[in-house]
């Protein structure tokens, strides 16, 4: 399986190298993707919870912002 590519720009040597990720880099990349997915899921859950709370309170997001300011 071809792993994702990495670009390395050595400014001092004025060289650019494009190569495939090493196993360790690929493992870190997969861990990053999982962490980002979790961040996005948590954000979506928070947004859903917030919308539900506003609906129960019968106020808009702007009104909530005003109350909390």
């Amino acid at each position: 399986m071809t792993k994702p590519m990495i670009r390395i720009h050595d400014v001092e040597a004025d060289s650019i190298v494009d190569r495939e990720m090493t196993d360790a880099e690929y493992e870190a990349h997969l861990a990053s993707a999982a962490a980002v997915d979790e961040l996005a899921t948590n954000a979506a859950l928070r947004a859903e919870h917030k919308a539900g709370l506003l609906e129960r309170l019968g106020i808009t997001a702007e009104e909530a912002e005003l109350l909390l300011s």
């Binding site: 994702p4 990495i6 670009r7 400014v11 004025d14 494009d18 990349h29 993707a33 912002e65």
Partner: protein
């Protein structure tokens, strides 16, 4: 190479030797090179006072005795373009030599990578989550969000936008400012972004990061977890 010897006034009949030509002429002109690496190849032992012009960055620099330093930057405030890089792959690493600069400023724009693009910036090759302590705030239309991350496991980098999201089209812009890049103590990093969200709303985000490490800055990595970068330009500036 011969060191500059100041001023001499030749008179009729004087013989111009190779040594005199090197001392009074060759080492005291504005030397033009394609790049810093070309200059390094041509001048193995630069002398204090030499002046050069680099065509790739349009920079005029003098040799201080220990390093090539931008002219016009003075003791503070001057900006020198150090590099221009096109993003590619799932990660792009850019080497940085911050010697002589109090700040490294990075501008990143036109980034695309898959349909739901994200962008993160890592310092050196550091993936230690606890070294990235970040607080962020942003807005998408009339929706506001804020939070703090004491390192994000697996990500371990600076997020310019909410969860690093930079929009699915190429109209995004992000910037990173790394203060005290040479310090062997903490560094302050500020990042912000402007982009079009997946809901086609104009969005903005700001992140402040306490980067806790004792290593000087030597490189940055731009990473994405969504496919690979298909476009994007990164400009790195040194600021005195």
């Amino acid at each position: 190479m011969a060191a500059g010897a100041g001023y001499i006034e030749f008179t009729t009949g004087d013989i111009l030797t190779a040594a005199a030509a090197n001392e009074y002429l060759a080492s005291q002109v504005v030397m033009v090179f394609a790049s810093a690496s070309a200059r390094t190849s041509a001048i193995a032992s630069p002398q204090e006072g030499m002046v050069s012009y680099l065509k790739d960055t349009n920079a005029v620099e003098y040799y201080s005795g220990s390093a090539w330093t931008a002219i016009g930057g003075g003791s503070s405030g001057g900006m020198t373009l150090l590099s221009t890089t096109t993003l590619s792959g799932a990660s792009t690493s850019i080497s940085i030599t911050p010697t002589g600069y109090n700040e490294i400023a990075i501008v990143c724009y036109g980034v695309t990578n898959g349909s739901n693009g994200n962008l993160f910036m890592g310092i050196n090759t550091d993936t230690t989550s606890s070294n990235y302590i970040q607080a962020f705030y942003g807005t998408e239309g009339t929706t506001y969000y804020s939070g703090a991350n004491v390192g994000v496991d697996g990500v371990n980098a600076i997020l310019p936008g909410q969860a690093g999201y930079l929009g699915s089209n190429s109209s995004n812009i992000a910037q990173f400012r790394i203060f005290q890049p040479n310090a062997s103590t903490r560094k302050l990093i500020n990042a912000s972004s402007a982009f079009l969200s997946s809901s086609s709303l104009n969005a903005a985000s700001n992140t402040t990061c306490d980067y806790v490490t004792t290593s000087a800055l030597s490189s940055v990595q731009f990473k994405t977890t969504v496919g690979s970068f298909t476009a994007g330009t990164v400009l790195v500036y040194g600021v005195k």
